[in-house]
Symmetry: C2
Subunit: 456 residues, 2 copies
Amino acid sequence: MRENYVDFENEMNELLSNKNYERIRELMEETPPADAAEYLEEQPIKTVLMLMKVLPKDIMADIFSYFESDVQENIFKNASEAEIVSILEELSTDDAADALSELPANFVRRILKYADAETRGRINSFLNYPEKSVGSIMTSEYTSLKSNMTVAEAIEYIRRVAPDKETVYTCYVLGYRRKLIGVVELKEILSCRDDLETVENLMETNIVKVYTRDDRQEAARLTKKYDINALPVVDSEEKLVGIVTVDDVVDVIEEEATKDIQQMAAIAHVETPYLKTSVFSLVKARIPWLLVLMFAGMLNGIILGRYEAAISALPIFVTFMPMLTGTGGNSGSQTTATVIRAISLDELEIRDSLKVMWKEIRVALTIGIVFGLLNFARIYFFSDDPDKIIIGVVLGISMIFTIIMAKSLGAVLPLLAKKIKLDPAVVASPMITTIVDVVSLAFYFSLAMIMLSHRL
Amino acid sequence: MRENYVDFENEMNELLSNKNYERIRELMEETPPADAAEYLEEQPIKTVLMLMKVLPKDIMADIFSYFESDVQENIFKNASEAEIVSILEELSTDDAADALSELPANFVRRILKYADAETRGRINSFLNYPEKSVGSIMTSEYTSLKSNMTVAEAIEYIRRVAPDKETVYTCYVLGYRRKLIGVVELKEILSCRDDLETVENLMETNIVKVYTRDDRQEAARLTKKYDINALPVVDSEEKLVGIVTVDDVVDVIEEEATKDIQQMAAIAHVETPYLKTSVFSLVKARIPWLLVLMFAGMLNGIILGRYEAAISALPIFVTFMPMLTGTGGNSGSQTTATVIRAISLDELEIRDSLKVMWKEIRVALTIGIVFGLLNFARIYFFSDDPDKIIIGVVLGISMIFTIIMAKSLGAVLPLLAKKIKLDPAVVASPMITTIVDVVSLAFYFSLAMIMLSHRL
């Protein structure tokens, strides 16, 4: 689909230099707003502000909702209050609140003063929902029906209100005091060939819904599980206040996967795209965990210090250290990553802990024995040390021990974290690798000192 | 939403033991199929097969499409051919092909012989698309319109065909020989108040589409970028052959994130949920990378062997090894994970390589200097070795070197992998950690031997 984009880019460049605004308006109307946004993000802010005046408001708002947040911010800082408000009024409430949420509070207050009371109220209530809550990603432009409407009336009503709604494909049936009493797919309404049938008889009353203060991941989980296009959001009194559409859920799913990956790599969560993140922000996101892990590594050094005699007398054991700790770390990471991902995908619950442990121990035993034997064989056949059998046994046993320990810790720690309501990803690979380092090296050198005491 | 599920579970248990099939049928009709599937997966296969006979076919097919693939397989192996075919005919083509794709080829042939020619042809063509292609996830139950239909005719037509279509919300306009010439949202059609307006004037001709053999990630990318509900799929002659709906894209996005995470943790891709994966499959997925990395670790040991003299004479340096390699590995992982994720999210292209390198070098220099100074200070203030200044300098410089090297490699290797069309995730953290181990230890001990030659 890129061939069209290049044509569009060339034509826009030419039209802009010729100031042919009429054709620009036409072209923008035909172009997917995501493409228009991509193009405008590369242009000077002056050009964007100028086009805001030339283009119809609804098209400009559409494009605006696809801008990266730093571009949105830049526009807000450079446009007049009236221009900003006219865009805000066209945006769906969640997009408007999203764009404003990054700005300083008094700046937002100043802008909202220019908006009409209804827009101000709507946006304000959205700005008040906690950051990762369902409320913060929902939109209030849903379509509601009455239960006593007939199919013909419902279709007529939907046709009238469609232009102003985010979606008309799933409709919500409201009862007394806007309580949500049913959900009906437009497809069901259209499929019904009896124009006098009532909405009440078509609607689903077994409603899958979320509450405004639920975590947005709950909305993602339900949307995936039930293949829902638009999930209703109710307040504590079961009144319908908004919907979460599947395109917002897609963003949540991606962001959560990114967060998991970042935590597995010992990075604090960064929301901005990589190329737009400053060096300072990157350092800030990376240094805390690196420091914690380095201090843990120092502790490791102190423990290793107790074995200095063994190290001097048996330097051959040092040469196997990186392989041993490396294999331990990798074995642990394999298990932790698997378990954390399974928890994120709702495939694992705390009550499965024993099953997980039992499975991981069998996997670890299998891998451990293979690796232990390989290491013993390698030393037995290739070393010329007089104690090569003992050295091989020490290394082989340490290998088995390390893999079993690494995989057990890797399984149990994320589940434990979830149990005490921590994010399982905080005990991810780097943390487990560091613990595995300490325990496996202490085991390895202790065993070496016992088995080769005659050489100390 | 779980409170309802528990009620449902209890009621079903009771109804099943009372053999009250009439009420079971009613209850299943009211329950979301995802919940019914969850319940039935826990029941003996006999119960499921018995319900297949009792429940209406469309409801059973709906539930069937939510079963895990091992349950689907189990049903196929135990039901009669006629029963299987009646389910297959009700399933959308992609779900049917999906369910069959895991079964032995001659078993599939035998079942399809019982299906009518049309169903057999549809399913067979789907089974022939490559595994990760758009063709393998698309569905052929789309709604097509003619460009000369009026709004009133289009609505009438949609109402007639809606029951058989996966979605009617996005409609596709076909020209001569089924060529895709336009896309129109049902919302646009309904919003148009002029019943005599033609579809031609409402449809979008700037079409975002994919080809059957495109990678399914391309479908995911376009769906996200353009917020599309159903993406049209065309063959090499631009004829419409199917659509990819957003719920299938959600699954692709999650599976791809899982694959990234697995590769970052040195695991081969496993598709089955963790609890259903056998110990043998887990071992098979984990052992290859562990072996490769262990052999790399052995190489590391051989290189370290060259420094045995230094190790015996200066055991204090060994105690810092885990911290040095640990910090190096973690620094590298941070960068690789960031870069790989940014590539997956289309935030980074190969042409950005220089920008990435320059950014990472500055980040690494900042972190490296902080960590180098910390380590020097720690030895200077807490060690009582007569050469503590030299030791501190060796450790500090090695730390700076290691972090810069780790972050540079972490940035450049995934981009290089992408450049030569490998999956960037194959050069993920464990691989980089192993390389960083080798290079940093060689640097560290060489520097130690040069600076402290008087003690060797």
